[in-house]
């Protein structure tokens, strides 16, 4: 029995077994539709047509449960999962905003769920109209000329843009020379990871100590005849907008490179800034961040890439077009990078984002940006009053856009308690833990709370209050934090299997083999 501390919260503890430990031999949770007798008589034993060595000897060792047992098990697991709807959930850079229920209802309509991607085009005009409408709105919001809804997530979108940069230089017969993508370390990791996956060498710029963004001279020094392009995030995860971007774009263009801007942090600048107007050639939005589609326990997300006219011919196929009468899937792009995903995109999220933009309208989107930024700056003022908390680059940027990247370095130095411990203790107070920072940690002991427009002032106050309490504990009773969590569904985890191949088990069958039947 753990020693729970009274924080006014306790997680549900079910100690739910792994599903393989539940049920009984011979049970089942689903009755398969049967083959009509006439069919059986007509065709006989079809299974025997499979040659013996290809016929499965024993059925897969799946769990054997009845329907009510399966439902109870997964309902319990859902109760031990903390979503945006559950409480204060401000995982930074993820824009954990409320996902309106009406959009879920529309996305689940049989008119969306029960259509096949290869149906005759005249039978799917409705869904294509929604694709087309969303593409147009995203053009309007970004200042780009064409959009593709193909990418399935942010990293996938950045990869698609890296492929476009590659295809562009290949067409100009300069790819052999242009082998480098420049990025900035405060950009999302996929701005390095995806061009790396596309075969580019990645050159990373570091922020200036005073300004929080790279010096223009640093970019100039990185530019060479090898530069294929610049791929970076703006605004950054520090909530700082890099105003050098105009200059960067000019410099990269003069050097013959292309610029792709990661707009995953667009929530705070919707309606106020259009990256296309600033000269970017390519960009992407995350529908699961700025455009309210749910994060689905890490997916499906959905992303969209935008291109200027000159690069539109490189976009992945197909793209939904309208011929004046009908919507259709356009595959006719001679320089396309080809396919980046099967079929056309994450359709339920495309429907949700479409409905969301329609609900908000231009006026609502402006309010999104305004309130998200007010929320964030209010949170910054309040968090800076918490002992041991600092905000790097505060002097240069007292006001931030969507979020701030704070540091607990002082707390760590004073008490030995850092972000890992604080995060575990957050759970005890009934809050979701905080995003630390993508790696490498430029900010020591970082945390990055992002308060989107859908969080109330009262919840922000509560969040700050909890951090006051935890840092107070750090100075007065650090033990309680070191041994946290106390009020969560489980106690401290043994992480050794993480790097020990004799202990790790990614499946139950591997677990049984390695533990020799010792189930606990």
């Amino acid at each position: 029995m753990r020693h729970e501390e009274s924080t006014g919260y306790h997680a549900v503890i079910w100690r739910e077994p792994i599903i393989f430990q539940l049920g009984k031999e011979g049970r089942r949770g689903y009755r398969v539709p049967q083959t009509e007798e006439e069919i059986k008589t007509s065709i006989g034993d079809v299974v025997s047509r499979i040659p013996g060595k290809m016929r499965r000897k024993a059925p897969p060792k799946l769990p054997e449960l009845s329907e009510p047992e399966v439902v109870r098990h997964y309902i319990r697991l859902s109760q031990q999962t903390y979503g945006v709807d559950s409480g204060i959930h401000m995982h930074g850079t993820c824009t954990m905003k409320y996902s309106p229920k009406i959009n879920d209802a529309l996305a689940r309509s049989p008119k969306v769920a029960d259509i096949h991607p290869l149906q005759d085009i005249e039978t799917v005009q409705g869904i294509l109209e929604i694709f087309y409408g969303l593409q147009k709105w995203l053009c309007e919001l970004s200042g780009m000329d064409e959009f593709s809804l193909q990418p399935r997530g942010g990293a996938h979108a950045v990869f698609s843009n890296a492929q476009i940069i590659k295809a562009y230089h290949k067409l100009n017969r300069e790819l052999e020379q242009r082998t480098e993508i420049i990025t900035t370390v405060l950009s999302h990791p996929c701005n390095g990871g995806a061009p790396g996956a596309a075969g580019f060498k990645v050159v990373t710029l570091y922020p200036d100590e005073e300004t929080g963004y790279p010096d223009i001279e640093a970019l100039k020094a990185a530019i060479s005849k090898h530069t294929a392009g610049l791929m970076m995030t703006d605004p950054y995860d520090t909530g700082v907008f890099d105003p050098n971007i105009l200059e960067y774009i000019k410099i990269v263009h003069e050097a013959g490179g292309l610029v792709a801007i990661d707009q995953a942090n667009a929530n705070s600048v919707l309606t106020r800034l259009r990256i296309g107007d600033l000269g970017a050639d390519l960009c992407h939005f995350n529908l699961h961040k700025s455009f309210s589609t749910p994060h689905g326990s890490t997916g499906p997300g959905s992303a969209a890439i935008g291109a200027k006219k000159e690069l539109a011919e490189f976009l992945p196929v197909p793209i939904v077009k309208h011929d004046g009468k009908n919507y259709y899937l356009d595959y006719d792009r001679p320089h396309t990078i080809g396919r980046v995903g099967e079929f056309y995109g994450v359709v339920p999220n495309i429907v949700r984002a479409y409905a969301w933009i329609m609900t908000m309208g231009a006026e609502g989107l402006q309010e999104v940006s305004e309130v998200a930024v007010i929320n964030n700056n209010y949170l910054i003022r309040k968090l800076l009053e918490v002992r041991g908390v600092s905000l790097p680059w505060y002097k240069a940027h007292p006001f931030r856009l969507q979020e701030g990247r704070f540091s607990l370095q002082k707390l760590k130095e004073d008490t030995g308690i850092g972000i890992a411990e604080v995060n575990r203790r957050m759970i005890d107070y009934g809050l979701q833990d905080m995003e630390t920072s993508h790696e490498p940690w430029i900010v020591p002991e970082p945390f990055t709370p992002e308060p989107p427009e859908t969080i109330s002032k009262e919840d922000l106050d509560k969040f700050v209050d909890v951090l006051h309490k935890i840092t107070h504990e750090a100075y007065t009773n650090p033990e309680i934090i070191k041994t946290a969590p106390h009020n969560a569904a489980i106690s401290k985890i043994d992480h050794t299997p993480s790097a020990d191949s004799s202990k790790w088990a990614m499946t139950w069958r591997a677990h049984l083999k390695k533990m020799g039947g010792n189930k606990m």
């Binding site: 031990q80 979503g83 905003k97 006026e363 043994d494 088990a505 499946t507």
Partner: protein, 475 residues
Amino acid sequence: MTHLSFLVQVKLRRSSVPIHQYIPNSNPQSKNEMLKEIGVKSAEDLFADIPERMRFGKKLKLSDPKSEYEVRRHVEATLCKNRTCSELVSFLGAGCWPHYVPAVCDEINSRSEFLTAYAGDPYSDLGRYQALFEFQSMIGELVAMDVVSFPWYDWGSVLGDAARMALMVTQRREILVPRTISPDRLALLRTYLDGQAEIRLINSDSGSGQLNLADLRSKISSKTAAVYVENPTYLGFIETGVEEVAQVAHSEGALFMVGVEPLSLGILTAPGDYGADIVCGEGQPLGLHMYYGGALLGFLACRDEEQLVSSVPHRLITITKTQEKGEWGFTYVLPKRTMFAAREKAKSITGTATALWAITAAVYLSLLGPQGMRELAQVIMEKSHYAMKLLSEIKGLKVPLFDAPHFEEFTVNFDATGKSVQEINMVLLKFGILGGKDLSREFPELGETSLFCVTEVHSKADIEKLAAALREAVQ
């Protein structure tokens, strides 16, 4: 409405302050309190970072805000233009298959905790980790492999990353794939391997469609990183010589990769039992609606060897203990190798992928269990074989084109009727039927051929309706 609150409403409307239903602090009182605390007069002051000249000063060409009712009405009216596979009778598969989705699957993936969670630690998101570990475990049972990763976007993207794993592990730069591979999946593989490796196609036997072992032997070399096969193939039949393919691949030091449709594994030998090193596939048949091809779920499994595991370019959850007896914990395996930590060194593309669908697949597989999977695979085979039988009796049709065992999809050739697949499908649509996928552009060597899919959702009457309509169409 009381008189007073009416006045307040009128006043707010007059001051034209938008108070939005999704935005708690859009009420003037909260906003003003917060601005005061921040120490600025106006929200505009907070955007100081963005130089004036970079701001978009105009009004966007978007519609005015709408009520939930208006949006619902508009979107539903738009969607009404679609004709669904329940309104029509559909025989389309080819990478997105029609199967019944038990209500429990929709119930669990609609749970708002799963739907709206993201990336919390196991302390806050224990259930999410456990459900995903169970997904990994059940896929492991299906394919008979010990390591299964987090889910991918779709089969094609997981194939691309599996091929990259093979390049990394073998330090070779060539992938051999069968000519019968789905052309879209091949296109995706080309995108993923662009500039990194060469893809070479292995021929098939013309009669049986089976991968031609002689051609494989002539093309494989010490440059080959991996040999890939699909089972069942895109064209619907079963590759039966896979054990030999594994031997040929391994004897040259190449990896053997297999792509699978998971329901077939209720009845087919698991790839882990015929020598596969990496298995990938599409999980959409496991409890996911078709969603116009927009709810796909790629999965990846491999042997439990450190070199392979450390080359998996996506997250892997392992089960572990906690300080308390009786509790399960979960943690990520070698987290430093993923893009989230290693950036460009990780060379990875997959971040937020398809966890909600993976949880759904776990629900589906636990509902069916071993016997349900076995039975479902058999029912699918019976119905598809009945359809093949009826269609093959129609004059002028060749059904199937390949002399091999089939699972749920099969080819129908119309050459002898003098009609194109397109013409046939137009007639079928008049009968309320969506005919098979037209293969004439993807595989011109097969002539006017179409790929039909028949599963447990098709009744005897549906199949007979198709046969009757086809008789009319070929006239």
